[in-house]
Symmetry: C2
Subunit: 324 residues, 2 copies
């Protein structure tokens, strides 16, 4: 019998699903993408995950029977056994037994992980955190999440919830409402959702922006790439909103530096992949204005080096651990 030695890594985000096939040495064989469409309900989202997985297998020309395990990253807290998604606001999920549902249809061992904790593990194993012992990650995408590595290991905290960097308060008095229900969270002012919401509001209030043409008048279609194009075109509204977001991300990075004294703060996620080169200097400047006693050896604030792949890589690492 041929040994099952390929791994599936899936990144289930609020906006898109990424599924990838890796060989036994961790090389990426294929990567497929699909819109998540959480508004269509849990069953549909899970169907779409399965479709995306089958497309990735087809693209890699790997039969289903050669898959050793599947890891899937989800934006929310997961039970300690890696079975159930406790809450995932961006998917409108609560207590979804995702591992069992996927096992039933795909017939492979499945482990569910928190998407940004998985991304942080990928950064530690394969990205900008490779040679570091102590660092923090911030992933700026549909939401804004993070992970903390202490002494070379992912720190999960007392109940697995550590690293919710997007819910640090950066607007103390009656700030914008966040998906978590609170107000003034970093995610509510600096995630792509928050950035898009502000741009749409301004356009609806009559403000001019090239964004409207770039998404063919359908403002629901604004993605990181459209923001990047508008930014590079010098669009004033987009620049203003992204600069404000970058300043807040810098404050978040500074808070992490002041509290954790890490060797680096590493940034990833769709917004950073699309716009990191433009925004990192501004994020860094804002951070330095808020870090206590910056020394000549300043804490590095840098790109993860993994682009959009941090999630699938981290999910694959978790799946690999599952099968030993």
């Amino acid at each position: 019998m041929k040994k099952r030695h390929h791994i599936l890594g899936v990144d289930l985000g609020g906006t898109k699903i990424l599924a990838a096939v890796f060989d036994e040495r961790g090389r990426l064989l294929s990567r497929e993408k699909k819109a998540t469409k959480p508004e269509l309900g849990t069953a549909t989202v899970i169907n779409r995950v399965e479709e995306c997985v089958h497309e990735a297998l087809a693209a890699a020309a790997i039969p289903h029977t050669e898959i050793a395990a599947l890891g899937i990253g989800v934006p929310g807290p997961i039970d300690p056994k890696g079975e159930i998604v406790r809450v995932a606001p961006n998917l409108h999920w609560k207590d979804v037994p995702l591992a069992r549902l996927l096992r039933k249809h795909l017939d492979v061992p499945v482990t569910v992980v928190n998407d940004v904790q998985a991304g942080t593990m990928a950064v530690a194993a394969l990205g900008a955190g490779r040679k570091l012992k102590d660092f923090a990650c911030m992933f700026v995408g549909t939401g804004l999440g993070g992970g903390i590595v202490i002494n070379g290991e992912l720190y999960k905290g007392s109940t697995g919830m550590a690293g919710e960097v997007g819910h640090m308060v950066v607007v103390p008095d009656d700030g914008p409402k966040c998906g978590c229900g609170n107000r003034g969270c970093l995610e509510a002012v600096a995630s792509r959702s928050a950035i898009v919401r502000r741009i749409v509001n301004e356009i609806e209030d009559g403000r001019k922006s090239v964004v409207k043409q770039l998404c063919d008048g359908d403002l629901k279609r604004i993605r990181s790439r459209i923001l990047a194009t508008a930014y590079r075109d010098g669009d004033e509204l987009v620049r203003e909103v992204l600069h404000a977001a970058a300043d807040y991300i810098g404050i978040g990075a500074a808070n992490l530096i002041n509290v954790l004294n890490p060797q680096a703060v590493i940034l990833g996620g769709g917004v950073i992949e699309a716009l990191g080169d433009r925004l990192l200097p501004r994020i860094t400047k804002s951070a330095w204005a808020h870090v206590i006693a910056p020394t000549p050896q300043r804490v590095n604030i840098k790109d993860s080096g993994l682009g959009d792949d941090a999630g699938i890589l981290g999910a694959a690492l978790a799946a690999r651990q599952l099968v030993g």
Copy 2:
């Protein structure tokens, strides 16, 4: 020859010096207090530390020759060997070789520790953190510092600076100037210095307050105890300023909870010792408004249980480690 088995623990704060003598079983034999008067210069402050130590020895009737070691906590970063105070803004110190200076005059082994890291060790060993593996401390006094315990050990970060919770940004846009040089830090709005500064400004602007009588018209003499008396008297200005500070401390606690997911956030320092019973409910309420997905098993926010002794206890623990 009689064995040296007593320990000296000193807490050198921006406002006062505390020195205590402990016996070999860690029992407190005496505790003496002295104003720091940092404005008189480094040499004078060190003299005052020595005087305070001699007074504590006299009060315990322990001769100098029975002291095994001295530990001293200082509000600022210390070099990794426990010799030199790198910076201590509240003392106006920079690169002071405190261990060598004290050894020269007192002729005992000396170790210098960061005051709040020492306090955190005391909370872990003897206070409200005794049975906890993962928690964070916030000490609200002249400044606002903290410490992080991970897996039962004090987490110092990559260069020993972890736990600077007072420099999390809570007022993002042009907040009040902090002692660290930045703006909008938690310490700049919620430490006793910040609280007193705001009360003094309001009184100088003509606002009425019982504080003026309580300190005999000398507003420089406002201490935590005076604030506590005014608060209990229902003084409107003091209540307003302390409530605002408590709300910010709650935001700081929420940030720590969201990032670190600890079992507890433990509060200490002069302001909490004097006013904790009044302010803790308000701090807790503010924190819950900013913690993501608070579960039925909410993270405990509680008093250290060590009052003003956390600093001397932690310094004594460090001294005990020095002599094995």
